[in-house]
């Protein structure tokens, strides 16, 4: 029988939640790296016991960890992230030029074809790659040195490269997203990049449909259709059917279209999930009711999923990397909150229960379906 392993990054350590395929009796292992912020933990699709973790603290900076036994033991690997060449400047919050400064790794994306290759999205926004299991890192600097790079500005959480999507059908194609620059695509394995933000409209920037400057919170696709992208933007849920060349809004009847995560059902490429948040100033659910919204039509026609989720006095947030799905049938949906709960639905969102209630604030959730 298959089993499930949920990799949870929190403000104060990593936790590994495991269960058999019934998904009803969970074991909680951790904290790993107690006291450290764990922005992201993700496993290799080729070797699920090969895990990579981003560990950081305000005292001691960035540390990278690797496991070859599914998180039972860990090895510290390389943390030397150096921008390529003379980094130059981007715009600071006040519009003045500001030198690029490495702060932390937000997101790790293991290669689809090589267990020792992994990509890292970092703050200040740049894309790095390791081909030796995380021991050494090199910048794919064509992204940061794009002609628009000097005009990028940080969002409230910092100027982070938070999303990396590797196209399973085209090994030359990579998508990234940066707050608050927008979405970008490379069709030559990361050497050169183009902004893919046509159709986005952001009232928070001087030119609402500018080429860059949009605060994209998360993009995703179904592996069977990597040219169909879904986006949760600062405000607005968006869809592209041409690999990001153009976008259209699919927020429709959402009670608010602000939010952070967005994900796709493992077996239904047109079924997508978001967690609406009240506003950019009030990062909690509307009316204290935690509701996942599901669209079975690839956007629009949203339905609220509430069964098992708190429907009063709930004021948590769900961050951009804190939602994931398993590949069992029926598909399981998982998300973590800043209140320390990890919720899961074993039936595609129809019902929910908390696996854990009281972890530190959850930064990321990744699910592995193990044979």
């Amino acid at each position: 029988m298959s089993s499930i392993r949920v990799l949870v990054g929190t403000r104060k350590g990593a936790f590994i939640l495991t269960c058999d395929g019934k998904r009803d009796a969970w074991r909680v292992n951790g904290p790993h790296f107690a006291g450290w912020e764990i922005y992201h933990v993700k496993g290799s699709p080729l070797d699920p016991d090969r895990l990579y973790a981003s560990q950081s603290s305000s005292w001691s900076g960035q540390v990278m960890q690797r496991s070859d036994d599914g998180g039972a033991t860990w090895e510290t690997v390389g943390n030397h992230f150096v921008y390529d060449g003379v980094p130059g400047t981007h715009q600071w919050y006040d519009g003045t030029p500001h030198p690029w400064e490495f702060a932390r790794v937000w997101h790790l994306e293991p290669s689809l074809t090589d267990r020792d290759t992994v990509y890292a999205g970092v703050e200040d926004a740049a894309l790095f790659r390791s081909t030796d299991g995380g021991q050494s890192w090199s910048e794919l600097s064509g992204l940061r040195t794009h002609t628009t790079g000097s005009s990028w500005q940080p969002g409230a959480g910092g100027m982070c490269l938070h999303t990396i999507l590797l196209d399973p059908k085209n090994p030359q194609r990579i998508f990234t997203a940066i707050s608050a620059a927008g979405a970008f695509r490379s069709d030559d394995a990361g050497a050169t990049w183009k902004p893919i933000n046509r159709g986005l409209k952001s009232a928070q920037i001087p030119d609402p449909d500018a080429e860059v400057g949009h605060c994209v919170h998360r993009i995703t696709f179904h592996p069977s259709r990597p040219h169909v992208l879904f986006m949760q933007k600062h405000w607005d849920v968006m869809r592209s059917d041409d690999a990001g060349d153009s976008w259209r809004e699919v927020s429709d009847n959402l009670p608010t279209d602000f939010g952070f995560p967005i994900d796709v059902h493992a077996h239904e490429p047109e079924t997508i999930y978001v967690v609406p948040i009240k506003s950019d100033a009030e990062h909690f659910p509307l009316d204290g009711q935690l509701r996942v919204y599901r669209s079975r039509t690839g956007g629009n026609a949203w339905e609220a999923l509430t069964n098992g989720l708190p429907q009063r006095d709930c004021y948590v947030n769900v961050l951009r990397d804190a939602m994931s799905v398993d590949t069992l049938d029926p598909c399981g949906i998982y998300f973590g909150t800043t209140g320390g709960q990890v919720y899961m639905s074993p039936d595609g969102g129809d019902s929910w229960k908390a696996i854990v209630h009281d972890l530190p604030a959850v930064l990321s959730v990744e699910v592995q379906t193990l044979p």
Partner: protein
């Protein structure tokens, strides 16, 4: 023999006991002590000082003999009591963060 006490979060990262002891020839200063520590525990590279510039990380402090040495030159000799092992060099996570 030089005695060095690491902050708790770096002890666990380096998997060390409470106190690290190192032998040094020549100038006993923060720079030489940290170089020896990093050579023995490479997982600490970048966690106390910048890997390239060797600038102290903003929220790390160096204390010894009830003095804050954080703002002294990292090449300045450490107190004689530290150099002969009577007192430890304390590497401290500053009272910041959460």
């Amino acid at each position: 023999m030089i005695r060095v006490v690491l902050p708790a979060h770096l002890k666990s990262l380096a998997r060390t006991a409470d106190e690290v002891q190192i032998e040094l020839d020549g100038n006993v200063c923060v720079s030489s002590v940290l170089s020896a520590i990093e050579a023995r525990y490479p997982m600490l590279l970048g966690t106390i000082r910048d890997r390239t510039t060797h600038k102290r990380r903003p929220h790390i402090r160096y204390f010894a003999c009830e003095r804050d040495l954080s703002h002294d030159s990292p090449d300045a000799p450490l107190p004689e009591a530290v150099a002969r092992g009577a007192e430890p060099l304390l590497i401290v996570g500053a009272m910041s963060g959460g």
